[in-house]
Amino acid sequence: MWVYEKKLQYPIKIKNPNPALAKIISTQYGGSDGELGASLRYLSQRYSMPYPELRAILTDIGTEELAHLEMIGAIIYQLTRNLTPEQIKEAGYDSYFVDHTTGVYPSSASGVPFTAAYIQSKGDVLTDIHEDLAAEQKARTTYDNILRFCDDPDVIDPIRFLREREIVHYQRFGEGLRIATDKLDSKNFYAFNPSFDKRKPNLNK
């Protein structure tokens, strides 16, 4: 279970609204490589993980991703405060506004609503950990791209924090992959699926 803490993982205090930037950053809320997908991916995959270290990593990183989702929500909220209809139109935020006003909604920067098709839970330890390594890199690239459009230090600071976390998570998943392969048959990692097959097949046959 989870218990809410009335605090952000990293403080966010944005003085100047900027709806154009909010639209770009919202992709990390509900886009293909965003924090919602990340948390659902890890928290779903952990059930079929055969090794306790991997269950721990997926639970702890999945939980941290929920804290990142909240940070992105706070950034979007603060970037879209006190807007006039003129500012909304000028920033190209009108297409979002007409559907959601300034409510925070999980969709990509181009307006595609969040879908579970962004994630995979394959029930195979090697496949799932590789998906997770790729996911962290895709999120890191997205943050790099977001940073190209940021000129407000109030926004750059927390986005850099989030970018750095992707790199740390990638590192931990890499160690997780190593822990998994160390437990598998070094001559053939794919001899059986430890998430499903109850017994190791006889390899001498």
Binding site: L8, Q9, P11, I57, Q78, R81
Partner: protein
Amino acid sequence: MSERQNLMREIAEYDFAIVELNLYLDTHPNDYMAKQRLSDCEHKSRKLRAEYEEKFGPIIFRDSPDTRMMWIKSPWPWDICQEDN
């Protein structure tokens, strides 16, 4: 920054170290130094949280059952507060 925000920032620093060390220990469970640092940070965070909750309201609702109203009314993490302006 207000006193409340300064205290929260300090808590966030220790809590971040706790998250980071905990993740590291998931894949390095026998690292004695990391375990020591984790328990040191936990001790400091607990102390600061108690001070914060006493002054500004609960961070976790169960920790301060007498401050029901503060759970509702103290600033939510995404709020831009009067104290910022």
